[in-house]
């Protein structure tokens, strides 16, 4: 149960944080942004895996994250307001 909840919590939190940080122009990453990305990836990996290095854990986490992504894209397709909030108006 907590595998699934942890993956969802981290996905939603990262989405929120990156959206709030205003880095919509991801194409213009400076070296500092790259460093930040690398360190965040490390922190996230620790939070998601903990001491559990099983293949099953990794697979379930990946399915949960991809599933969350699919849900987001379906919601964005059907609700333009949602798309604006999540992606920004471009």
């Amino acid at each position: 149960m907590d595998m699934v909840l942890r993956a969802l919590a981290i996905y939603l939190f990262l989405l929120l944080i990156f959206r709030l940080s205003g880095s919509r122009t991801m194409a213009q990453t400076t070296p500092f942004d790259l460093v930040l990305l690398l360190i965040i990836a490390e922190a996230v990996q620790q939070a998601l895996l903990g001491d559990d290095f099983s293949v099953t854990n990794a697979l379930v986490l990946i399915v949960v994250l991809i599933g969350a992504d699919i849900v987001m894209s379906v919601l964005k397709e059907h609700m333009p307001l949602f798309e604006k909030v999540v992606d920004g108006s471009r």
Partner: protein, 167 residues
């Protein structure tokens, strides 16, 4: 250049595409089922996985997870009724069959002595008072597949624990 009725000369095969979309939708359904089943604990840690083993005389009660993942620690909670406490001590044994394929990371409280015999390893744990004693053993499975073994009190009742360890 091949003759084509399509003015844009797209090489799309609509039948294949439609089949592909159907497979995709089925895949999404499968993913949803997987997520629900994982949340319920089929791969460890949830209502489907939590199990309870009791000895025949009711002195021993063990809470454990039926489904485990290799390298993921799990806690086995052992409750020993007052009938199992002798001279302020509980003598808990774990069979070699159980230990073959799982590492015991810790026994809480720390046993005052550990001895090994042909049947298994015996932990002697000090108990205060006469009420039921709760012992928590942290186990790390190291081999994949079905895994089980006996656990019990020396000279008393025992229970059989069975797990399935996912890779």
């Amino acid at each position: 250049m091949t003759e084509s009725s399509d003015p844009l000369e797209l090489r799309s095969d609509l039948t294949f595409l439609r089949r592909e979309w159907m497979v995709e939708r089925l895949g999404w359904g499968a993913m949803l089922v997987l997520i629900v089943v994982a949340a319920l604990g089929l791969f460890g840690g949830g209502p489907l996985s939590r199990s309870d083993a009791r000895s025949e005389d009711g002195v021993l009660r063990v809470d454990y997870n039926r489904f485990l993942r290799v390298t993921a620690h799990t806690q086995v909670g052992i409750e020993v009724g007052s009938g199992g406490v002798e001279d302020g001590q509980v003598q808990l044994w774990v069979s070699h069959e159980y230990l073959h394929g799982a590492d015991i990371e810790s026994v809480l409280p720390e046993p005052s002595s550990e001895t090994t015999s042909a049947e298994g390893i015996t932990f002697t744990i000090d108990v205060e008072g006469t009420a039921a004693a709760v012992i928590v053993v942290e186990v790390e499975p190291t081999s994949i597949g079905p895994h089980g073994g006996d656990l019990g009190l020396v000279g008393g009742s025992s229970v059989h624990l069975s797990h399935f360890v996912y890779p």
